[in-house]
Amino acid sequence: MTTAAPTRTTTTRASTRVLRRPEVGAAVAALAVLVFFTVVAEQFLTPSGVGTWLNSASRFGIMAVAVAMLMIGGEFDLSAGAMTGATGLLVGVATTGYGLNVWVAVVLALVVALAIGALNGLLVVRTGLPSFIVTLGTFFVLQGIDLALVKLVYGQVAVQGFSDVPFVDSVKPVFGGTIALGGASISVSVLWFLAVTVLATVVLLRTRAGNWVFAVGGALASARATGVPVARTKIGLFMTTAGAGWLVGMISLFQSSTVQSSTGVGDEFIYIICAVVGGCLLTGGYGSAVGAALGALIYGMTRQGVVYAGWDSNWLYAFLGVMLLAAVLVNNAVRVRAERLR
């Protein structure tokens, strides 16, 4: 037989190709939010204003990107928020309370975070329980330790005197530094945010591991049947969110020189909202790191924009809820289109 292809071999139009990307909705929304607050709050687009909301967005964005990868892989991590507090507390308490070298403490916190992430992953893979339940358990355990253990060994629930710890100034530029850029002072966390987003995008779209992430989240049985190492992929994803939790924990600690037992509690839902606004399906198998980053940008802009506009900051929550519902509706429509038989 011949291999002559019939005329159906036209390439899909560029516009269709763009609209098929999961992050398109978030990009449009981000632009709208930017324009809106630029108009209603004059401080919003000033160098210092931009620096402030970028910093706010970056701390949520690093987590949102990691959580988006996990969601594409078909799982949730409700312990992600508490993890940012736990790692910060570990470093704060170990250095100010026990005189541990700050570099050693930072590395130790990373090891502990990765171990907790691996444990989350192992529990989910081995038991087959929904990660929603497993990580809800981890979340409460971490929250309990953050409060009770810290109070027991440290006597209070907030780290004091962290800026007096020896060598703390040698670590600060890495996590809590700022860079002067055209009149604005940009936090180092923004660079981390950018790096994490680029790295996650490359991994998702251009590596074998990324292909496996989409596969385990999209159709677990098919992934297993084609030889994808399902357990390894999922455990790796849980370790990634835990690692991101450590990074954000360090950024918060070194930016503010303190950390409280309640730090990060409740943020886990913000990360999920950012990922969903960025196009991630709650059912897994679809989404993007850039989308999650844009979701975090929307969150950061709104959070600061509401303040600059002089409104009650609690309006933020109502706005978040509306965004979430709108995003889920859009995503569902996208999925129905993508899965529709021709």
Binding site: M1, T3, A5, P6, R8, T9, T10, T11, T12, R17, V202, R206, T207, R208, G210, N211, F214, A215, G218, A219, A221, S222, A223, A225, T226, G227, V228, G285, Y286, R335, A338, E339, R340, L341, R342
Partner: protein, 259 residues
Amino acid sequence: MSAPLIEVTDLGKTYGSVVALRGVTTSVRAGEVTCVLGDNGAGKSTFIKILSGAHQHSEGTYLVDGVEQHMSSPRDALALGIATVYQDLAVVPLMPVWRNFFLGSEPRKGPFRMLDVDLMKRTTRDEMAAMGIALRDVDQPIGTLSGGERQCVAIARAVHFGARVLILDEPTAALGVKQSGVVLRYVAQARERGLGVVFITHNPHHAYPVGDRFLVLRRGESIADRPKAEMTRDELVTLMSGGAELDALEHELGRGRPV
């Protein structure tokens, strides 16, 4: 006629004291389609599980290229070039066609071991074209393809990764008339490319046009194993539906109906 790729003689399988399959003899040759027909529970599944290496036979011999084999996993069968395309196809609906094509065996290049995307897309397009399917866009999610086309991606994937014998597990069972035609065309296509095909079906009208050899199973036993030259379509239909039983059924159902 070439030497058979697969030859089974008096093949049988018992699960404890239950006889699932007994006395099956047939062969699969390069460039030929061996059809396995039977009603539900006739032993088709047991037969393909043995061929694909998922189960071991307990009686008879199973020769591949003239050498006796006792496979202990589908991996062993794959290593011998025997690939099975199951009904669920093992595809991820939301992923693009080219990612599905290479899932689990992605080619990589460069110092950072990145996916060789160009090679993956090109190979997918070429392999599908070789089966006579012109894909509009290899970037479209595989879920947007028709059932027949998805079936063909799975077949093309098996061929690309070195299959010499394709076992197709009821590829037309869930499809409409038109889609079944599409799949049958690709079964013929695979045969033209020199593959041995084992085509499992319960529809004699699908089997007869593409088949070169027909194995009919009933209640775990082989009731026929003949080349096409020794089998007419009517004979196949009668064998398949259990001749006398069908006559009785027709008589029974026809009686009360107004003529």
